[in-house]
């Protein structure tokens, strides 16, 4: 737990790349392997999008050790940006994605800067409040959708030089969702080994050591928070195209609780933890659903009970898995 985890495969970059490519290829054909039905496609697309959403909060919670309760704000910024810019100005997917990244960085930078000098729980409190306020604004401001939201978002269009990719159906969106997920995984893996990633871990594990090395924990917190926002934002961006609708329901507590649960369920600081966590939780909700209210009880209980009884997550029950 206390040491910075080393990826064993990092000594053999070619092998690692080969494994990664193989997994990506299997991933690409996974919906086909699961029957190729539109349910398989849409479920896997949803899992990929939600996993990316979770990775945003993951780098704050796992590596920085702080709790952001405002990532639904970035999730909604992504959705609202995609919806507004594509419906009102006819912009393509690249432009809406860039705008999402920019807006998320601005919002996170603002919240992070304001809470720079406050204690850790005030950071959580302010991020929580920011999401509530975001909901209020989205609900009341008719220019960006108001309480009805924006209906009829056209298919995702990504011009690629000569050809234009168009994601009209769930089958078409799967490669985009998978690519976004893989890029996110690469990004997180790089972050774990980056200067910022190791500094964040050090601040969390041994603040005294970090201070003696001249690391300012507040600046690290700001940097990690700003970095995390566009990840969740891009997930929201794709979610808007998948659902063809955005509304104030993107601020639902559900998404926040899902993000946190997916991270802690498998265990913090495990690269593929949030992905597996998301898959398990979405599978429960889609395949073994007990109805909306019971699903809430299940999700909330899992979150609370895991942290109370197995703080290291399910992976903590199988110590040999952590060596991977």
């Amino acid at each position: 737990m206390s040491a910075i985890e080393q990826n064993h495969a990092s000594s053999a970059p070619i092998l690692r790349t080969a494994i990664f490519v193989a997994l990506a290829a299997i991933g690409f054909f996974l919906p086909k392997l699961l029957g190729g039905t539109s349910v398989a496609y849409s479920t896997l697309t949803t899992i990929a999008i939600f996993a990316v959403m979770c990775y945003g909060i993951d780098i704050v919670l796992s590596y920085l050790g702080e709790v952001s309760l405002g990532h639904t704000l970035f999730w909604a910024i992504g959705g609202y940006t995609a919806a507004n810019l594509s419906v009102k100005y006819g912009l393509n997917g690249w432009s809406t994605a860039l705008a999402t990244i920019a807006l998320c960085i601005v919002a996170a930078g603002f919240l992070g800067a304001v809470t720079l000098r406050t204690r850790e729980f005030v950071f959580s409190l302010v991020t929580y409040a920011a999401a509530v306020v975001g909901y209020e604004i989205a609900f009341n401001w008719d220019a960006i959708g108001g309480s009805d939201g924006i209906v009829g978002i056209s298919a995702l269009k990504l011009p690629l030089g000569i050809a234009t990719f168009s994601g009209a159906t769930q089958e078409d969106l799967w490669p985009v969702a998978l690519t976004l997920l893989l890029l996110t995984l690469i990004f997180i893996a790089r972050f774990r080994r980056s200067k910022l990633g190791t500094a964040a871990l050090m601040v969390q594990m041994n603040p005294a050591l970090a201070a003696s090395l001249g690391i300012d924990p507040r600046k690290i917190r700001l940097a990690v928070f700003v970095l995390s926002a566009p990840i969740t934002g891009l997930a929201g961006w794709l979610y808007a195209y998948q659902r063809a609708y955005v509304g104030p329901d993107m601020f639902e507590t559900y998404f926040l609780v899902l993000m946190l649960t997916a991270v802690v369920l498998i265990g913090r600081r495990i690269l593929i933890g949030p992905l597996i966590g998301t898959a398990i939780l979405i599978a429960q909700q889609n395949l073994f659903s007990l109805g909306g209210d019971w699903n809430k009880i299940v999700l909330g209980s899992v979150l609370a009970l895991v942290l109370i009884f197995w703080p290291a997550g399910l992976a903590g029950l199988f110590p040999q898995l952590r060596q991977k």
Binding site: L61, S124, V132, T261, K296, L303, A304
Partner: protein, 284 residues
């Protein structure tokens, strides 16, 4: 005259904010704990009161008592489950665990009480008092007086009694306090039960003003956050002043700027304060 009416409205709103925030203030101020299920506990307190009055036919004071007892028991259960995290002062996990509990309460309440908005029956909330061109309800008077009395009592208890200093000793260092023969677990349990009972009382008093919904907890709690931070993290008198001040601000903002964006305005106020005085207004 509108100004005078807005001042009355502000005091009415503000005493409600302060009343609901009391439990959090104590929890944070004397035990250094946080509870992100506070909003859902507020919702539950309101619904238990509603259920006791409409389904069990209890009179209002008994319904309040039932709500306090029910949430006190719930608080004891929650705190018992979280005890290990509390004793190790694991604030990060506590924040998430209480958020999880809150979500369970929301789902559970929707199952038990249904998804429809309800209104607490109350004669006081509809008994208007007219003073010239000013008006308020007897419920407002009740909330205002009860809030002042509660804050006074809690202030006396924590500052002037031996038990108050015991709680503060535990907050300072639970392990050390145990060496001096203080049962820190019991103290934490007591404080958390108080937080839940206080929010039940606050909900029973404040909720008759507006319709209640099982999904309202997440949004309702934001004013408590603002009060606690404005008041200077755990300062009892600070929270009372902050609550009343916030109420006045919201009343005037709602009347003269935009009713729809009052939460956003409160949040903006919080952010400005955090930049100027990161530790809150009432810091020494």
């Amino acid at each position: 005259m509108n100004i005078a009416q807005q001042i009355v409205n502000g005091l009415v709103l503000g005493s409600g904010y302060a009343c609901v925030a009391l439990g959090w203030t104590i929890l944070l101020g004397v035990a250094r704990l946080v509870n992100f299920a506070h909003g859902q506990l507020y919702m539950l307190g309101a619904f238990v009161t509603w259920y006791a009055m409409t389904k069990a036919g209890l009179p209002y004071p008994l319904a309040i008592l039932a709500s306090i007892i029910a949430l006190g028991i719930l608080g004891a259960l929650m705190q018992t489950a979280m005890m290990r995290l509390v004793m190790t002062q694991n604030l990060t996990s506590l924040m998430i665990v209480t958020l999880g509990f809150g979500y369970v309460l929301q789902g559970g309440s929707a199952l038990i009480f249904g998804g429809n908005p309800q209104t607490l029956p109350g004669t006081l909330a509809r008994a208007k008092v007219d003073l010239g061109s000013l008006w308020f309800t007897w419920q407002d008077v009740l909330v205002f007086v009860a809030t002042l009395l509660l804050y006074g009592a809690v202030w006396l208890f924590t500052q002037k009694t031996r038990f108050g200093s015991v709680i503060r000793a535990v907050a300072e260092d639970p392990k050390l306090a145990e060496l001096f023969g203080i049962n820190a677990k019991l103290v934490y349990l007591f404080v958390f039960i108080f937080e839940c009972a206080a929010v039940a009382l606050g909900a029973a008093l404040v909720a008759p003003r507006s319709p209640i919904l099982t999904s309202m907890g997440f949004n309702e709690v934001i004013m408590t956050f603002v009060v606690v931070v404005l008041g200077g993290i755990g300062s009892i008198s600070g929270a009372l002043v902050a609550g009343l001040g916030l109420g006045l601000f919201i009343a005037f903002f709602g009347a003269f700027v935009a009713q729809a964006y009052t939460t956003a305005a409160a949040f903006a106020l919080l952010l400005i304060l955090l930049v100027i005085r990161p530790a809150g207004l009432a810091t020494k």
